[in-house]
Amino acid sequence: MPEPTMTLEILRYRPERDRAPSIQPYEIPYRADWVVLDAINYVKDNLDGTLSYRWSCRMGVCGSCGMMINGVAKLSCATFLKDYYPAPVRVEPLAHFPVERDLVIVMDDFMEKLGRIRPWIIRGDEQPLSEGEYRQTPAQLATYKQFSMCINCMLCYSACPVYGLEPGFLGPAAIALAQRYNLDSRDQGSGQRALILTSQHGIWDCTLVGECTSVCPAQVDPAGAIQQAKLASTLDWYFSVLLPWG
């Protein structure tokens, strides 16, 4: 019996020769235990060595293999061919980011935004070394742990039409990360982050489409983080207006 095959339609863009990207079909063997990344690796090794894409861990932790698979942002190492077979699978670079080459996107904007929200523990008063480390109870850890699980895969940015329409939007993962530090009992930097979160194209750009949470492979729930940041910011505002010392 001949080996079953299926078609992988991959977006190709070679800036030195292409004006615009085009779709190129590849016939690949179908294996039920293959993920899309396995199939792309097969293409690269056997059919076309010029194909460019990012990947590293092959196990859903490094966050580098995000692609649009049949129009949905997914980790290609965690998306099985068997969920699509025998229909062709279309693989494109992550939406809303500029394309560098083939499936490789430019992530500068995301990196800049991650840094902008000051993703580290900010202290107003640094306690002397002699007093030891800043301690935290399991309950205090639980308040932010979910938001700290982000693997920076950018799937949420590709799923967010607000980011697609307004590239200035701070975006799901950066806001979730800001919320992660704001909720950390050791951190005292929420005032500094509030300036960024509530600035133009901050949390209030979000119209709660909710797809960021749906596509997130790490169950971070960035949509929840953004709504909680909106609530916190609103309460802050009311307190500052109602309480003269607030």
């Binding site: 800036p15 500029p98 430019v106 639980a142 119209t207 609530l231």
Partner: protein, 127 residues
């Protein structure tokens, strides 16, 4: 090197079910706004006297208006339910390390809905 940008086309909300439902939710606000305008018109007609108000009531009884109210009701219900389900995202209730399940937080909305509706029904129907 030249980078390729793919702008979002005007039909992006047709490409996925979730986007479409989102647009539908945003669209419901149009019906709610129209309903409110109609309500305000009623208040205004009331201020003009009995005849004007009766004419307004007659307008409401036309098939077109009845149809509009059914659509507006469905839109309002859909919109409200989406808000009910947002609450667990916004409101995090914790007991130590554990978080109250979202279904319970959202459930409070539904219980409150039933209770308030029952009270209103009782006020309206008692006499």
């Amino acid at each position: 090197m030249r980078r390729y940008r793919r702008p979002l086309g005007p039909t992006w909300w047709l490409t996925q079910r979730a986007y479409f439902l989102f647009m539908l939710r945003e669209l419901t606000s149009v019906f709610i706004a129209a309903y409110l305008a109609l309500l305000l018109l009623g208040v205004y007609r009331l201020s003009l006297g009995r005849e004007a108000y009766e004419a307004y009531l007659q307008l409401l009884a036309t098939p077109g208006m009845l149809f509009f109210h059914v659509v507006a009701l469905i839109a309002a219900l859909f919109h409200t339910l989406t808000w009910f389900d947002v609450l667990p995202k916004v409101l995090v209730v914790r007991f130590g390390e554990r978080r109250l399940p979202g279904a319970i937080v959202a459930g409070v909305n539904y219980v409150a809905w039933v209770v308030v509706s029952a009270v209103i029904a009782w006020i309206l129907l008692r006499g």
